[in-house]
Symmetry: C2
Subunit: 335 residues, 2 copies
């Protein structure tokens, strides 16, 4: 992604107009060089992550373009948060079909710029191409943690408590609403409740506010992107432990609670649907109260949902009858 004093090509003009204003970090050189240069904070490790979205796979082609930008950036910010890292910046790769309207790009860049500012994660560089395929956006995000202090998936031990931030299942229900609007009526949702679920699908709320608190308290953590059940199983496998969750303790929004009351089978969608972008963590029992209190002070609700025990990767979810749910698919896969 380059820009010169006199933009020469259509690509250069678009970059100069929409992306150069976002490249506020001095090391981005106003997108006028081949690469960015940043001085990493002394004594820190770099935390590196890439994740992306494709139209028709991860978002709907008619989703507002600013929400597409927010989602792809926030997906990556959510991983930095779960690893205890402070954002430093990101690189952007965008592939656009010929004939993509400039209004789409304008909305995309606006959402991207607002979120880059909001989360203190500036655009450092990028790559723009035309594609015969659908709109595709990939972000590579960089953060910093004190040396050796990245919060790992491995680290949970028997006795630790399992906690999650925010509420679970909203995005999966929002996706179901987007796919079939008749479900809103069946679930007897108000307009506000529908909007809540849809917006949780479109624009996740990464928990970067508690990255440092997480480093201080969690024995292991990851973000919930592919469904709570599947992601907890991944954490348990990486840590060599088991975990048991009471579904009744999984935090739900009013909208999700309403839908679940109408259709109890939705518990499966809630605990195994994707796109939550909340943080799943394990915390030694003596630290749970302090973690919850400090997170709450940072504006993030943390709920204890279960317990870690000895095991080999089993993640059990107990239903209202106290018996384990048999989940058809523990996690959502785009692949």
């Amino acid at each position: 992604m380059t820009d010169e004093t006199k933009p020469q090509s259509a690509e250069e003009r678009l970059i100069a107009r929409y992306f150069k204003p976002l490249a506020t970090h001095p090391g981005a050189f106003g997108l006028s060089d081949d690469a960015a240069a940043i001085a990493p904070p002394a004594g820190c490790d770099l935390v590196l992550k890439t994740d992306g979205v494709i139209a028709g796979v991860h978002f709907f082609p008619d989703d507002p373009p600013d929400t597409v930008a927010r989602k792809v950036l926030r997906m990556n910010l959510s991983d930095l948060a779960a690893k205890g890292a402070t954002p430093l910046g990101f690189l952007l790769a965008v592939a656009l079909p010929q004939g993509t309207e400039e209004a789409w790009l304008a909305g995309f860049a606006r959402g991207l710029g607002e979120d880059a500012e909001l989360f203190g994660c500036p655009l450092l560089g990028g790559d723009t191409d035309h594609t015969p395929g659908p709109i595709s956006v990939s972000v590579a995000a960089f953060g910093a943690v004190p040396h050796g202090k990245m919060v790992r998936r491995a680290g949970a031990t028997a006795g630790d408590r399992v906690v999650v931030t925010g509420t679970i299942g909203d995005a999966a229900l929002g996706l179901a609403l987007r796919r079939d609007s008749s479900t809103a009526k069946r679930w007897e949702l108000t307009r506000d409740q529908q909007d809540h679920l849809t917006s949780r699908y479109r624009v996740p709320q990464p928990r970067n506010a508690i990255a440092e608190i997480l480093r201080a308290h969690a024995s292991a953590a990851m973000d919930v992107s592919d469904g709570l059940a599947g992601d907890l199983a991944k954490l348990c496998r990486a840590s060599g432990v088991a975990a048991e969750i009471a579904c009744a303790d999984v935090p739900l929004s009013d909208a999700a609670r309403m839908a679940l009351a109408k259709e109890p089978v939705l518990i499966e969608t809630i605990v195994s649907g994707g796109d939550d972008y909340e943080i799943l963590a394990t915390v030694p029992p003596g630290k749970v109260a302090a973690f919850k209190q400090q997170a709450s002070g940072a504006g993030v609700n943390v709920t204890e949902i279960g317990k870690v025990s000895a095991g080999r990767g089993e993640a059990r979810f107990l239903g209202p009858d106290g018996k384990p749910l048999a989940l058809a698919h523990a996690s959502y896969s785009h692949f």
Copy 2:
């Protein structure tokens, strides 16, 4: 990109089989965590770059998959080289159509792994998705330079000499051969010469061997990816200078020289076609001899092709008659 002891999904199986063996850096955690963590070398800036390829746009769908992997990694390595940076590692984003044969992925991973090893640039993490579009691969590469020492596009001053590494135009001629095999006959190329041009298009030779030498001698540099003429103009605009190149001094391979002898109009393809992935640099006159000698010692041929003068971004190419070429397109654009 994740892997667990018991891979659960098709994506996890493919990652475990093909990409985990490439994640040799301890900070990649064997792709078993959400993000990578690396300790950047003390006193260094990070140099960050992203570039990618799309089937049917940047490579032919029937190109050997190992060459696709090599090309996309080397495109990014070439930028690190031109900025004087030592590679630290890379993130990979791959979007594959449903039904992509496993043999394709196996070849891709083999080429990627061999080049990661060859250039000391390990896979740190990634993202794999299915796409309704063509195969798309994006790399984000990271390198290190001593603090403040990234070689910039801006920095050339009047009197500096313009130099390039290797030979120019091979890839653009190789692309022309791939598009229309009858050209080989018209240009009277041997089989070896055809293979040379085609392989230069498919697999560039990034000049990472001279990154440190470049830092010590160049006033400005960039890699030649969009055509020598257009890229030199970019460097001149960023530096606020002009440059004049004698086409006769532009280094050519035997194959390119043969083709040009048959069709003198190919000089335009040679100086404005893309995909060279050589380094274009400006060097103060007193440092040219040492630069050439040290680069040669590192196995890289450097040729002086012109001179920087006062100006405002003009890059002139003088033809055999001593008059400036009128280039229809100074650079190749995929956009």
